[in-house]
Amino acid sequence: MHAHAAHHPALQHQFQTMSQQKESAVLGMWAFLLTEVLFFGGLFMAYMLYRTWYHDAFVLASTSITIFWGLLNTVVLIGSSLTMALAVRSAQINQRKATVMWLIATMVLGTVFLGVKVIEYADKFEHHHVPGPEYAFIEPGHEPIFELGPHGRELLERNSAESLNRTTQIFFSLYFTMTGLHALHMIIGIGLMCVITWMAWKGRFSSEYYTPVEMSGLYWHFVDIVWIFLFPLLYLIDRS
Protein backbone atom coordinates (compact mmCIF):
# COMPACT_ATOMS: atom_id res chain seq x y z
CA MET A 1 0.00 0.00 0.00
CA HIS A 2 1.32 3.41 -0.91
CA ALA A 3 0.67 6.24 1.53
CA HIS A 4 -0.62 8.51 -1.22
CA ALA A 5 -3.43 6.15 -1.98
CA ALA A 6 -4.99 6.95 1.40
CA HIS A 7 -4.75 10.76 1.12
CA HIS A 8 -7.90 12.67 1.83
CA PRO A 9 -9.26 13.94 -1.51
CA ALA A 10 -9.25 17.53 -0.20
CA LEU A 11 -5.51 17.40 0.63
CA GLN A 12 -3.62 19.62 -1.82
CA HIS A 13 -0.32 18.23 -3.11
CA GLN A 14 1.83 20.94 -1.53
CA PHE A 15 0.81 19.88 1.99
CA GLN A 16 1.89 16.78 3.87
CA THR A 17 -1.03 16.44 6.24
CA MET A 18 -4.55 17.77 6.60
CA SER A 19 -3.62 19.55 9.83
CA GLN A 20 -0.72 21.33 8.13
CA GLN A 21 -3.07 22.38 5.33
CA LYS A 22 -5.61 23.66 7.82
CA GLU A 23 -3.06 25.60 9.83
CA SER A 24 -1.91 27.35 6.64
CA ALA A 25 -5.51 28.26 5.83
CA VAL A 26 -6.12 29.65 9.32
CA LEU A 27 -2.93 31.71 9.20
CA GLY A 28 -3.74 33.04 5.72
CA MET A 29 -7.29 33.94 6.74
CA TRP A 30 -5.99 35.86 9.75
CA ALA A 31 -3.52 37.73 7.54
CA PHE A 32 -6.51 38.81 5.43
CA LEU A 33 -8.61 39.69 8.48
CA LEU A 34 -5.80 41.87 9.84
CA THR A 35 -5.84 43.93 6.63
CA GLU A 36 -9.57 44.33 7.31
CA VAL A 37 -8.80 45.39 10.90
CA LEU A 38 -6.58 48.18 9.56
CA PHE A 39 -9.14 49.05 6.86
CA PHE A 40 -11.84 49.66 9.47
CA GLY A 41 -9.11 50.98 11.80
CA GLY A 42 -8.63 54.02 9.55
CA LEU A 43 -12.31 54.84 9.87
CA PHE A 44 -12.24 54.37 13.63
CA MET A 45 -9.25 56.73 13.68
CA ALA A 46 -11.23 59.37 11.77
CA TYR A 47 -14.13 58.84 14.17
CA MET A 48 -11.94 59.27 17.27
CA LEU A 49 -10.36 62.46 15.99
CA TYR A 50 -13.62 64.13 14.93
CA ARG A 51 -15.31 63.01 18.12
CA THR A 52 -12.57 64.80 20.06
CA TRP A 53 -12.84 67.94 17.92
CA TYR A 54 -16.66 68.11 17.74
CA HIS A 55 -17.57 66.50 21.04
CA ASP A 56 -20.94 68.20 21.57
CA ALA A 57 -22.12 67.55 18.01
CA PHE A 58 -21.18 63.88 18.32
CA VAL A 59 -23.04 63.46 21.60
CA LEU A 60 -26.18 65.15 20.27
CA ALA A 61 -26.16 63.36 16.90
CA SER A 62 -25.59 60.02 18.66
CA THR A 63 -28.50 60.75 21.01
CA SER A 64 -30.81 61.30 18.01
CA ILE A 65 -30.36 57.64 16.98
CA THR A 66 -32.87 55.16 18.44
CA ILE A 67 -31.08 52.76 20.79
CA PHE A 68 -33.74 50.07 20.37
CA TRP A 69 -32.80 49.19 16.78
CA GLY A 70 -29.08 49.16 17.55
CA LEU A 71 -29.59 46.98 20.61
CA LEU A 72 -31.86 44.60 18.69
CA ASN A 73 -29.22 44.33 15.96
CA THR A 74 -26.49 43.69 18.52
CA VAL A 75 -28.49 40.78 19.97
CA VAL A 76 -29.26 39.48 16.45
CA LEU A 77 -25.64 39.70 15.28
CA ILE A 78 -24.05 38.18 18.39
CA GLY A 79 -26.75 35.49 18.13
CA SER A 80 -25.67 34.86 14.53
CA SER A 81 -22.08 34.48 15.73
CA LEU A 82 -23.30 31.78 18.11
CA THR A 83 -25.18 29.94 15.33
CA MET A 84 -22.08 30.25 13.11
CA ALA A 85 -19.88 28.76 15.85
CA LEU A 86 -22.42 25.93 16.18
CA ALA A 87 -22.32 25.36 12.40
CA VAL A 88 -18.54 24.89 12.56
CA ARG A 89 -18.95 22.62 15.58
CA SER A 90 -21.55 20.49 13.77
CA ALA A 91 -19.20 20.11 10.80
CA GLN A 92 -16.41 19.08 13.19
CA ILE A 93 -18.53 16.25 14.60
CA ASN A 94 -19.90 15.03 11.24
CA GLN A 95 -23.45 16.36 11.66
CA ARG A 96 -24.29 17.31 8.09
CA LYS A 97 -27.91 18.36 8.58
CA ALA A 98 -27.12 20.36 11.73
CA THR A 99 -24.32 22.16 9.84
CA VAL A 100 -26.75 23.16 7.09
CA MET A 101 -29.39 24.18 9.62
CA TRP A 102 -27.06 26.39 11.68
CA LEU A 103 -25.67 28.00 8.51
CA ILE A 104 -29.21 28.82 7.36
CA ALA A 105 -30.00 30.21 10.84
CA THR A 106 -26.90 32.43 10.56
CA MET A 107 -27.99 33.73 7.14
CA VAL A 108 -31.52 34.41 8.42
CA LEU A 109 -30.18 36.40 11.39
CA GLY A 110 -27.81 38.28 9.06
CA THR A 111 -30.76 39.18 6.83
CA VAL A 112 -32.78 40.36 9.85
CA PHE A 113 -29.86 42.63 10.75
CA LEU A 114 -29.82 44.12 7.25
CA GLY A 115 -33.61 44.56 7.36
CA VAL A 116 -33.35 46.55 10.60
CA LYS A 117 -30.60 48.63 8.97
CA VAL A 118 -32.97 49.46 6.10
CA ILE A 119 -35.60 50.65 8.62
CA GLU A 120 -32.97 52.83 10.33
CA TYR A 121 -31.64 54.30 7.08
CA ALA A 122 -35.20 55.09 5.90
CA ASP A 123 -35.79 56.85 9.21
CA LYS A 124 -32.66 58.99 8.69
CA PHE A 125 -33.81 59.99 5.18
CA GLU A 126 -37.24 60.88 6.51
CA HIS A 127 -35.82 63.14 9.23
CA HIS A 128 -33.23 64.78 6.94
CA HIS A 129 -30.37 63.28 8.92
CA VAL A 130 -28.47 62.31 5.76
CA PRO A 131 -25.54 64.66 5.02
CA GLY A 132 -26.15 66.78 1.92
CA PRO A 133 -28.25 69.73 0.75
CA GLU A 134 -31.42 68.40 2.45
CA TYR A 135 -29.70 68.03 5.80
CA ALA A 136 -31.40 69.56 8.87
CA PHE A 137 -30.56 68.50 12.41
CA ILE A 138 -32.06 71.28 14.55
CA GLU A 139 -34.48 73.91 13.35
CA PRO A 140 -33.60 77.24 15.01
CA GLY A 141 -36.10 77.99 17.78
CA HIS A 142 -37.65 74.51 17.66
CA GLU A 143 -37.40 71.58 20.05
CA PRO A 144 -35.28 68.68 18.77
CA ILE A 145 -37.27 65.68 17.50
CA PHE A 146 -35.46 63.33 19.90
CA GLU A 147 -35.37 62.92 23.69
CA LEU A 148 -32.51 64.58 25.57
CA GLY A 149 -31.27 64.02 29.11
CA PRO A 150 -30.28 66.98 31.34
CA HIS A 151 -26.63 66.77 30.22
CA GLY A 152 -27.63 66.56 26.55
CA ARG A 153 -29.85 69.64 26.96
CA GLU A 154 -26.91 71.52 28.45
CA LEU A 155 -24.84 70.66 25.36
CA LEU A 156 -27.68 71.71 23.04
CA GLU A 157 -28.02 75.07 24.72
CA ARG A 158 -24.34 75.97 24.53
CA ASN A 159 -24.21 75.47 20.73
CA SER A 160 -25.98 77.43 18.03
CA ALA A 161 -28.41 75.55 15.77
CA GLU A 162 -26.42 76.77 12.79
CA SER A 163 -23.12 75.31 13.99
CA LEU A 164 -24.80 72.01 15.01
CA ASN A 165 -26.36 71.73 11.56
CA ARG A 166 -22.85 71.92 10.16
CA THR A 167 -20.87 69.76 12.62
CA THR A 168 -23.39 66.95 13.17
CA GLN A 169 -23.07 66.14 9.45
CA ILE A 170 -19.56 64.86 10.20
CA PHE A 171 -21.03 62.36 12.65
CA PHE A 172 -23.63 61.19 10.15
CA SER A 173 -21.06 60.95 7.34
CA LEU A 174 -19.05 58.57 9.53
CA TYR A 175 -22.25 56.79 10.61
CA PHE A 176 -23.24 56.02 7.02
CA THR A 177 -19.70 55.14 5.89
CA MET A 178 -19.00 52.80 8.77
CA THR A 179 -22.39 51.09 9.01
CA GLY A 180 -22.57 50.99 5.19
CA LEU A 181 -19.21 49.24 4.84
CA HIS A 182 -20.16 46.95 7.71
CA ALA A 183 -23.43 46.06 5.95
CA LEU A 184 -21.51 45.45 2.70
CA HIS A 185 -19.31 42.98 4.57
CA MET A 186 -22.42 41.24 5.85
CA ILE A 187 -23.86 40.97 2.34
CA ILE A 188 -20.57 39.40 1.17
CA GLY A 189 -20.67 37.10 4.22
CA ILE A 190 -24.20 35.93 3.41
CA GLY A 191 -23.17 35.31 -0.23
CA LEU A 192 -20.19 33.28 0.99
CA MET A 193 -22.42 31.28 3.27
CA CYS A 194 -24.83 30.41 0.44
CA VAL A 195 -21.95 28.59 -1.26
CA ILE A 196 -20.76 26.94 1.97
CA THR A 197 -24.30 25.80 2.83
CA TRP A 198 -24.65 24.22 -0.61
CA MET A 199 -21.28 22.46 -0.18
CA ALA A 200 -22.31 21.26 3.29
CA TRP A 201 -25.62 19.98 1.89
CA LYS A 202 -23.69 18.05 -0.78
CA GLY A 203 -21.70 16.35 1.99
CA ARG A 204 -18.33 17.91 1.16
CA PHE A 205 -17.38 18.37 4.82
CA SER A 206 -16.54 15.99 7.64
CA SER A 207 -14.52 15.95 10.83
CA GLU A 208 -11.48 15.43 8.58
CA TYR A 209 -12.16 18.42 6.35
CA TYR A 210 -14.31 21.42 7.23
CA THR A 211 -11.85 24.26 6.56
CA PRO A 212 -14.25 26.32 4.32
CA VAL A 213 -16.89 26.32 7.10
CA GLU A 214 -14.31 27.43 9.63
CA MET A 215 -12.93 30.16 7.32
CA SER A 216 -16.33 31.67 6.60
CA GLY A 217 -16.91 31.48 10.36
CA LEU A 218 -13.77 33.57 10.97
CA TYR A 219 -15.02 36.14 8.46
CA TRP A 220 -18.48 36.27 10.04
CA HIS A 221 -17.12 36.65 13.59
CA PHE A 222 -14.86 39.46 12.37
CA VAL A 223 -17.91 41.33 11.03
CA ASP A 224 -19.55 40.76 14.42
CA ILE A 225 -16.52 42.28 16.18
CA VAL A 226 -16.71 45.42 14.02
CA TRP A 227 -20.33 45.84 15.12
CA ILE A 228 -19.40 45.24 18.80
CA PHE A 229 -17.36 48.49 18.49
CA LEU A 230 -19.77 50.38 16.22
CA PHE A 231 -22.74 49.96 18.56
CA PRO A 232 -21.32 51.80 21.61
CA LEU A 233 -19.41 54.34 19.47
CA LEU A 234 -22.39 55.38 17.32
CA TYR A 235 -25.44 54.77 19.53
CA LEU A 236 -24.21 55.16 23.10
CA ILE A 237 -21.80 58.10 23.30
CA ASP A 238 -23.62 59.83 26.17
CA ARG A 239 -27.34 59.63 26.93
CA SER A 240 -27.23 61.34 30.32
Binding site: Q16, E23, W30, L34, M45, V75, L82, F222, L236
Partner: protein, 131 residues
Protein backbone atom coordinates in the same frame (compact mmCIF):
# COMPACT_ATOMS: atom_id res chain seq x y z
CA UNK B 1 18.24 -18.31 2.83
CA UNK B 2 16.76 -16.37 -0.01
CA UNK B 3 13.37 -17.31 1.28
CA UNK B 4 14.14 -15.81 4.72
CA UNK B 5 15.52 -12.60 3.21
CA UNK B 6 12.41 -12.25 1.12
CA UNK B 7 10.20 -12.58 4.17
CA UNK B 8 12.23 -10.04 6.06
CA UNK B 9 12.02 -7.58 3.18
CA UNK B 10 8.30 -8.10 3.13
CA UNK B 11 7.91 -7.40 6.84
CA UNK B 12 10.03 -4.24 6.59
CA UNK B 13 7.81 -3.14 3.74
CA UNK B 14 4.76 -3.79 5.86
CA UNK B 15 6.17 -1.84 8.77
CA UNK B 16 6.91 1.15 6.55
CA UNK B 17 3.38 1.07 5.19
CA UNK B 18 1.98 0.74 8.69
CA UNK B 19 3.96 3.71 10.01
CA UNK B 20 2.88 5.81 7.01
CA UNK B 21 -0.75 4.93 7.73
CA UNK B 22 -0.32 5.79 11.39
CA UNK B 23 1.26 9.13 10.56
CA UNK B 24 -1.55 9.83 8.17
CA UNK B 25 -4.15 8.85 10.71
CA UNK B 26 -2.47 11.06 13.27
CA UNK B 27 -2.65 13.92 10.81
CA UNK B 28 -6.32 13.25 10.14
CA UNK B 29 -7.18 13.05 13.82
CA UNK B 30 -5.33 16.30 14.51
CA UNK B 31 -7.35 17.81 11.65
CA UNK B 32 -10.66 17.50 13.50
CA UNK B 33 -9.22 20.14 15.87
CA UNK B 34 -10.60 21.09 19.23
CA UNK B 35 -14.37 20.69 19.54
CA UNK B 36 -15.59 23.32 21.98
CA UNK B 37 -18.43 22.16 24.24
CA UNK B 38 -21.93 23.60 23.82
CA UNK B 39 -21.76 24.82 27.40
CA UNK B 40 -18.77 27.07 26.62
CA UNK B 41 -20.38 28.52 23.46
CA UNK B 42 -23.64 29.31 25.24
CA UNK B 43 -21.76 30.68 28.25
CA UNK B 44 -19.79 33.05 26.00
CA UNK B 45 -23.00 34.13 24.23
CA UNK B 46 -24.72 34.91 27.55
CA UNK B 47 -21.66 36.83 28.77
CA UNK B 48 -21.70 38.90 25.56
CA UNK B 49 -25.42 39.63 26.05
CA UNK B 50 -24.85 40.65 29.67
CA UNK B 51 -22.00 43.00 28.70
CA UNK B 52 -24.19 44.52 25.96
CA UNK B 53 -26.76 45.33 28.68
CA UNK B 54 -24.06 46.88 30.88
CA UNK B 55 -22.71 49.07 28.07
CA UNK B 56 -26.24 50.40 27.30
CA UNK B 57 -26.89 51.13 31.00
CA UNK B 58 -23.57 52.99 31.40
CA UNK B 59 -24.49 55.35 28.52
CA UNK B 60 -27.25 56.83 30.71
CA UNK B 61 -24.83 57.73 33.50
CA UNK B 62 -22.64 60.81 33.09
CA UNK B 63 -19.12 59.69 33.97
CA UNK B 64 -17.40 62.42 31.96
CA UNK B 65 -14.28 61.14 30.23
CA UNK B 66 -14.78 57.74 31.87
CA UNK B 67 -17.80 56.95 29.62
CA UNK B 68 -15.47 56.55 26.68
CA UNK B 69 -13.05 54.37 28.64
CA UNK B 70 -15.79 52.09 29.99
CA UNK B 71 -17.53 51.71 26.60
CA UNK B 72 -14.28 50.89 24.79
CA UNK B 73 -13.09 48.64 27.62
CA UNK B 74 -16.30 46.56 27.50
CA UNK B 75 -16.22 46.42 23.67
CA UNK B 76 -12.57 45.30 23.70
CA UNK B 77 -13.32 42.60 26.25
CA UNK B 78 -16.32 41.39 24.19
CA UNK B 79 -14.20 41.33 21.03
CA UNK B 80 -11.50 39.35 22.86
CA UNK B 81 -14.06 36.73 23.91
CA UNK B 82 -15.19 36.38 20.28
CA UNK B 83 -11.58 36.09 19.02
CA UNK B 84 -10.53 33.65 21.73
CA UNK B 85 -13.53 31.28 21.78
CA UNK B 86 -15.74 31.77 18.69
CA UNK B 87 -12.73 32.22 16.38
CA UNK B 88 -10.84 29.39 18.11
CA UNK B 89 -7.59 31.37 18.51
CA UNK B 90 -7.28 29.70 21.92
CA UNK B 91 -6.69 26.38 20.15
CA UNK B 92 -4.43 27.63 17.34
CA UNK B 93 -0.65 27.41 17.03
CA UNK B 94 1.64 29.94 18.68
CA UNK B 95 2.42 31.33 15.25
CA UNK B 96 -1.25 32.14 14.59
CA UNK B 97 -1.62 33.67 18.07
CA UNK B 98 1.44 35.85 17.48
CA UNK B 99 0.12 37.03 14.10
CA UNK B 100 -3.28 37.90 15.61
CA UNK B 101 -1.75 39.86 18.49
CA UNK B 102 0.68 41.67 16.15
CA UNK B 103 -2.24 42.81 13.98
CA UNK B 104 -3.98 44.47 16.91
CA UNK B 105 -0.63 45.89 18.00
CA UNK B 106 -0.40 47.72 14.67
CA UNK B 107 -3.98 48.95 15.08
CA UNK B 108 -2.94 50.37 18.47
CA UNK B 109 -0.03 52.17 16.75
CA UNK B 110 -2.38 53.58 14.10
CA UNK B 111 -4.85 54.89 16.68
CA UNK B 112 -2.41 55.78 19.47
CA UNK B 113 0.29 57.59 17.56
CA UNK B 114 -2.15 59.53 15.36
CA UNK B 115 -4.03 60.74 18.45
CA UNK B 116 -0.75 61.69 20.14
CA UNK B 117 0.18 63.67 17.03
CA UNK B 118 -3.11 65.59 16.82
CA UNK B 119 -3.32 65.96 20.58
CA UNK B 120 0.12 67.55 20.90
CA UNK B 121 0.06 69.87 17.88
CA UNK B 122 -0.98 72.87 19.94
CA UNK B 123 1.69 72.33 22.58
CA UNK B 124 4.44 73.99 20.64
CA UNK B 125 4.65 77.39 19.01
CA UNK B 126 6.70 77.09 15.88
CA UNK B 127 9.36 79.79 15.41
CA UNK B 128 8.25 82.78 13.36
CA UNK B 129 10.39 81.70 10.42
CA UNK B 130 8.22 78.58 10.03
CA UNK B 131 4.83 80.26 10.41
Amino acid sequence: MLHILGRRALSVGRLTALSATMQLRHGLLAMSGHVTSLKVYIGIFLTLMFLTGVTVAVAYVNLGQLNKVVALGIATFKASLVVWYFMHVKYQSRLTKLVVVSGFFFLAILLGLTMVDYGSREWVNPPASLQ
